[in-house]
């Protein structure tokens, strides 16, 4: 268990935000134990945009849930700012697909949800600010059922950003959107990331998405999941998605996962 690892044994460099140390995860299913993650090691830099890609069922969502503190690892530990993660925390917010917004609250109510400890003025200031940022002005009093999928996703991102977290965990956030909305949302997420400077860990099964967004892409193997390779995406934003370098990096990841280039 994680208790065998002494806290503070490693002094993290100021550059490192999050460390995954020898993390393994075994689920018990129908009396059998299913290894889901095997000895994962991963460092995430402060302010980095890291994408985790891999085939479905490789445990990438499980890994994200461990980082978010929603599950304890079977062995190993996850540290954020040198501190072992023991549970969810408002300093790091998990963003689900757009279904995570609260349907019983208005847009304003959703964005203000995590701000209950703040004064009324500060809360209203932040709500207004983030409504503006994600382009939901004019929809303050709307309920999620009146919004499109893309708007709901922006609302959930705004709800997360409003509590000013250092880390955002995004679990296939754009998976349920149509391909045009998905492209727009990627652009908006990058714009927000560049202004807010959060560390973003983004799980996706879409290789193009990963290469378009990330500073680095962690490629996972199928179950039990391991980090197969970490690819630096050394193209500055905005990225030309028909440039040779982009195609080369993308092809490399396809090879890594073992996908053919032709359909």
């Amino acid at each position: 268990m994680s208790s065998s690892i002494k806290e503070g044994a490693i002094s993290p460099s100021p550059e490192t935000k999050l460390v995954v140390e020898h993390v393994s995860m075994i689920f018990a299913r129908d009396g059998k134990s299913v290894p889901v993650l095997a000895d994962i090691d991963l460092d995430v830099r402060r302010g980095e945009f890291l994408c985790i890609v891999g085939p479905s069922g490789c445990g990438k969502s499980t890994l994200l849930n461990l980082m978010g503190g929603f599950l304890p690892p079977t062995s190993g530990a996850i540290r954020i700012d040198g501190e072992i993660v023991r549970g969810p925390d408002p300093r790091r917010i998990f963003v689900f697909q757009e279904r995570g917004v609260f349907p019983w609250l208005t847009v304003e109510g959703n964005i203000g949800f995590g701000l209950f400890k703040l004064s009324r003025e500060e809360r209203e200031r932040r709500i207004a600010h983030y409504i503006q940022m994600v382009g939901l002005k004019g929809f303050e009093q709307a309920y999620p059922s009146e919004l499109s999928g893309g708007m709901k996703q922006r609302l959930e991102v705004a709800r997360a950003l409003a509590v000013d977290p250092d880390v955002l965990f995004l679990d296939e956030p754009f998976g349920a959107l149509d391909s045009i909305t998905r492209l727009t949302m990627r652009g908006e997420l990058l714009r927000i990331w560049e202004t807010e400077g959060n560390t973003i860990i983004f799980v996706t099964h879409d290789i193009d998405e990963a290469v378009q967004l990330a500073d680095r892409v962690a490629v996972m193997s199928s179950r039990p999941g391991r980090i197969q390779q970490i690819v630096d995406i050394d193209i500055p934003h905005p990225r030309d998605i028909s440039s040779p370098r982009y195609l080369e990096l993308r092809a490399g990841i396809y090879d890594q996962i073992g996908l053919a280039h032709r359909i």
């Binding site: 978010g68 969810p88 925390d89 917010i93 998990f94 995570g100 609260f102 349907p103 949800f113 995590g114």
Partner: protein, 260 residues
């Protein structure tokens, strides 16, 4: 929301009224053709309602029935919702309580009448107790069901924003379960309204149920019997329509989208 599919305004009144008129006509002519001496025609019933209204009996009986439902059902709501929320929230407690509840639940409130009379004697308290019983279990079950069906995503999002367990229950679990709870409340109000009539036939000497039994016993006034039945139907409909308005509230409407 397609305006083409919506019936025109006059149609939404016209067809239901036509059905009612057709039903009354069928009833009237059935009485005329069979030349029955016992069963009243719609006109007899109308005269019966007028007689009752003039003697002020009707209003007093309606008031008494509604009062019993308000107290018994109100107590079931006040106790049932917190108990249901707790049982849904702590499955361990639910496992302990559930078998006992599953045995008590299918027992018709009518079967409780003798027991109620032992506990509370013949009178208002017995009737109120029966109404309470009839509404309590459906409300508890609806709350358990509502809470255990709250998507884990909502709970996790709540925890992620640093809510204490009590805040999580109040700000996430309850509003997320509210549509299902409202359905349970509406169904149990209907049951309570069914049971009050039965309880009043036995335990008390006022109310619409008593009016039915009394009209029959004191000289076979079947016009008054049917008049009281109609009043029960109309009031039940009004209660149900009132509840349906609650379901249109914006903060719960998301849970009723299938009704458009």
């Amino acid at each position: 929301m397609n305006s083409l599919q919506q019936p025109r305004k006059w149609e939404s009144f016209f067809w239901p009224l036509l059905t009612v008129a057709a039903f009354l006509a069928l009833w009237h002519f059935a009485v005329v053709w069979t030349a029955t001496k016992i069963f009243p025609s719609p006109l007899d019933v109308e005269r019966g309602i007028v007689t009752l209204a003039h003697k002020n009996v009707l209003w007093l009986d309606i008031r008494d029935s509604l009062r019993r439902v308000a107290i018994g059902y109100g107590a079931a709501v006040v106790l049932g919702i917190p108990i249901g929320l707790i049982l849904g929230w702590y499955p361990a407690i639910n496992q302990v309580v559930n078998p006992a509840m599953q045995i008590l639940r299918p027992i018709s409130p009518i079967a409780w009448i003798p027991v109620a009379i032992i506990f509370f004697g013949i009178g208002d308290d017995s009737a109120v107790f029966l109404i309470f019983l009839s509404a309590f279990f459906p409300i508890v079950v609806a709350c358990i069901d509502g809470v255990s069906n709250v998507p884990s995503m909502f709970r996790r999002a709540g925890r992620n924003f640093g809510l204490s367990p009590l805040q999580l229950l109040a700000k996430v679990v309850f509003p997320a379960a509210l549509p299902r709870i409202l359905i349970g409340l509406r169904i149990s109000l209907g049951i309570a309204w069914l049971v009050v009539v039965a309880a009043e036939m036995i335990a008390v000497d006022s109310g619409l149920g008593y009016l039915i039994i009394d009209s029959r016993n004191s000289g076979k006034h079947y016009d008054l019997v049917v008049a009281a039945m109609l009043m029960i139907g109309v009031i039940g409909l009004i209660l149900d329509l009132g509840f349906r308005r609650l379901e249109k509230m914006r903060s719960v409407r998301w849970g009723f989208r299938y009704e458009s």
